[in-house]
């Protein structure tokens, strides 16, 4: 039985993105709860090779053996036996928009996916519950050899690539929640960009949770071969339900020599979701990896996109933005591990807390011995909008090399009364003035987003700010 979540009672019924499609029906709905049998059943339904079944079972044993993390946010209300671990709406992913079932298409219509496609975005992979239901890659990308599939389909079609890379960046025993994901993963995106290929337009996928108490455990694997480049964009909105829901994804990215990957997430889970995600990239010689991570929704988010700089002159960037309203805790940040000489990194974090919300920046910069010439800058700014809001900064640094330049700086501030007064003297009301100041505060990150997302981000901030007093 789920513990009532006080946060959910406060979710207004008119929540803009929180609706539930009554016609939705799932073909495979397992019983709630997790066991060895559930893990085996997921693998059997998917018709996976034996090595994947074995990997899932190995991960399940790690999940069972590990205690719950005691740091970060409060996870005590998560009941792992009160969650569905596998639900699918269609049996297999489809290639054409026309083949997508009506009720799922309506879901996407409300999210505006076709519009995004009309804007010549390169491809759309939508995730409805746990399986990828829709895929469309522009023909020219296919000709270039770019693979953009649901992860399940990717495993079936390209088992040799999978076996080489899957679970190498985030091993099954990495942490309790990554172990859980490895045991029960379903869906996600699989991208392979061949040598020297530049994908000019962003690849997009939408993720939704749509069955009450449905855990979503998508698994994304991106491989950018030597000298290639790709930008992957993932955005989430979810219906507002009345009991706690769990989202625990794993994203693994391999950026080979001279390649460049940018991974952009805008996330607006409804306020009952526990969002506990492990995201990690490895960057080889002269490679560039960038995480752009926006966290607006959820009850608790714990997410620290990380980059292992393994080759000389590799560069990593994490741009993180977090907005926590009442009863929300955004525990987000970034990690960069300098494991090769002359590597550089930049972490920029902007967080805003409002009402009784809490934002925490938690990050790590580690420089191994011998990584001379490494440079890293970490910059964290927090804006606290109410007297009851809270902001924390936990920046870890472990420097074991002298020939480096490592710096960290943080500021915490409130919206200044002079700033508000100035804007209000120009005819704005207080909410508009505050929203403008907040939008200015997050501008350095928003300008890095694709245009549709930048607009959505500003709109979401505005929605969040309604009723907020600076």
């Amino acid at each position: 039985m789920a513990v009532p979540n006080p946060a959910v009672d406060k979710v207004p019924t008119g929540y803009k993105y929180g609706w539930h499609d009554p016609e939705m029906k799932s073909l495979h709905v397992m019983k709630k709860g997790l066991s060895r049998e559930v893990v085996e059943e997921i693998s059997r339904i998917k018709g996976e090779p034996q090595w994947m079944t074995d990997l899932r079972l190995k991960a399940y044993r790690h999940f069972e053996a590990r205690p719950m993390p005691t740091w970060g946010g409060d996870m005590s209300q998560i009941d792992f036996q009160d969650i569905f671990y596998y639900v699918t709406a269609t049996d297999k992913a489809v290639q054409s928009w026309d083949d997508v079932p009506d009720y799922i298409r309506r879901t996407y219509d409300r999210l505006g996916i076709p519009e995004a496609e009309k804007k010549y975005l390169a491809g759309v992979g939508g995730q409805y519950d746990s399986e990828v239901v829709y895929h469309n890659i522009r023909a020219d990308l296919e000709k270039l050899g770019v693979i953009f599939l649901g992860t399940d389909e990717g495993l079936q079609k390209y088992p040799e690539i999978f076996k080489e890379y899957f679970g190498t960046v985030i091993p099954p025993n990495d942490n309790k929640l990554a172990a859980l994901n490895t045991a029960v993963w379903s869906g996600g995106s699989f991208i392979y960009v061949p040598k020297g290929v530049h994908v000019e337009l962003p690849l997009q996928a939408y993720f939704r949770i749509n069955t009450e108490n449905m855990g979503q455990f998508e698994r994304t694997l991106i491989i950018a071969d030597e000298g290639s480049s790709v930008h992957y964009v993932e955005g989430c909105t979810a219906p507002a339900y009345t009991t706690a829901s769990l989202h625990s994804a794993v994203v693994e990215i391999i950026v080979k020599k001279g390649a460049r990957v940018r991974y952009t997430t805008i996330q607006n889970w409804s306020h009952n979701v526990y969002n506990l995600v492990t995201k990690r990239a490895v960057a080889y010689e002269d490679a560039v990896m960038e995480w752009v991570d926006g966290n607006l929704g959820s009850h608790l988010t714990m997410k620290y996109p990380s980059i292992y700089l393994l080759g000389e002159r590799a560069h990593g960037e994490v741009l993180s933005i977090a907005f926590a309203g009442s009863d929300q805790h955004q525990d987000a940040g970034g990690k960069v591990i300098h494991a090769a000489p002359n590597t550089t990194s930049l972490i920029t974090s902007k967080s805003i807390s409002q009402g009784t919300g809490r934002t925490s920046y938690r990050g790590l910069v580690k420089v191994y011995p011998g990584c001379h010439g490494s440079k890293s800058t970490v910059r964290c700014d927090a804006l606290i909008l109410s007297d009851e809001a809270r902001s924390d900064t936990y920046p870890y640094m472990e420097i074991d090399e002298d020939d480096v330049t490592i710096g960290h700086e943080a500021t915490v501030s409130k919206v200044g009364s002079e700033q508000l007064f100035y804007l209000m003297s120009r005819g704005m009301n207080e909410a508009e003035a505050s929203a403008m100041i907040v939008n200015g505060f997050i501008e350095p990150i928003v300008k890095e987003l694709p245009m549709e997302y930048a607009v959505e981000m500003n709109r979401l901030i505005q929605l969040q700010m309604e009723g907020a007093v600076g």
Binding site: D392, I399, D402, G407, H408, V412
Partner: protein, 416 residues
Amino acid sequence: MTIQTTQIQSGGLDATTVAQISSGEPGWLRELRADWWGTVDANPWPTGAEEEWRRTSLDDLPRDGGLLLDPPMATYDLDPELAARGVIFSDLASAVREHGDLVKARLGQNQTLPAQMPFWGRSLAAWTGGTFLYVPKGVVIDGLLTARTSLPSGTFTYLPHTLVILEEDASATLFEEVSSPDGQAVWFGGTADVQVGYGARLRYANLQRLGDGVWRIGAQRVDVGQDANVTTLNAEIGSAISKVGMDVRMTGKGGTSRLLGLLAAGGSQSIDFNSCQDLIGSHTTSDLLYLSALYDAAHASFYGVTRVRPEAKQTSSYQECRNLLLSPKAGAEPIPVLEIETNDILRCGHGATAGAIDPVQRFYAQSRGMTAEAAERMIVRGFFERVVAQIDSEPIKARVLDALAARIGSVEEEAA
């Protein structure tokens, strides 16, 4: 100086030892020691899982050395005129004998950060030395009060406790220096409880020149009263392992604290500080500046928390930790944490850096005819200047620079 045989209690620290050092003491102190021993006996030793203990392992702490029973006492020089006005400056044991009621009311009444409680409790149970300073209401001491201690050779445990009390509008500058010979496995667990009252002003400097075999496991608690002004300086030069927890409580409205640190380490030394600047009262200010220069395979960690409580309005705070890495094997882990629970703040932030000497600075100095070594000395000395310049007592500054010269070399020689 007279040579005296050092008395060391045999065996490790236990209830019997605590009872034994307490024999002949007043009943209230025997009880106080027993109570504190009860708290540490019941509580587990840090396991290394605690955030503050992740970077220093206690596995090799020399904990079997007997307790140092008759530590060499510092000479507590006090102007008779000040003594006549009620100032007390002595070792803690003498203060217990001569001013029992006063000490009884203030000794061992406070706890400190959970991470340091095992050591705070051990020190309060088994102290055999330490300084006591009491400055009555309105008494302003212009001169410097110095307590300098040289520990003997031998393997032992020494857990002195210093108690500093400044009453309303009092003012004082206290300098404590401790040194010991190299090559001795010693557990030095000095603690300090500093209580600064309404409108009082305290400068409190600690110079640590312990030998290269010493484990210094320390704890300081500072209570800053309303409109009080406190500056603390920790200059850490010696010891094998140094782990100190600073618990700074900005309790009273309008209080100010400045927390300064100078850390110079070489060899395989490890220095690990954790701090909590707890802003509880409104209109309080707390600024921390710790600078470390790390040679050879030395390692410095700093885990500092600034906490602004919901009820603390209009506070200002900053935490800055800079590390100069002077060898490829040197390392630093600065972790400045903010926990801000109100939006009504004037200023709050932190900065942390780690890196080598800027090659441009080095090149410039050498282009002016300095040797590489002289250039490095001068740059390190310049790096420390931001703290050194804030030491407003010339005798303390001279002692600190003298101690630093042992590690970084003397810049003055170069100039001459």
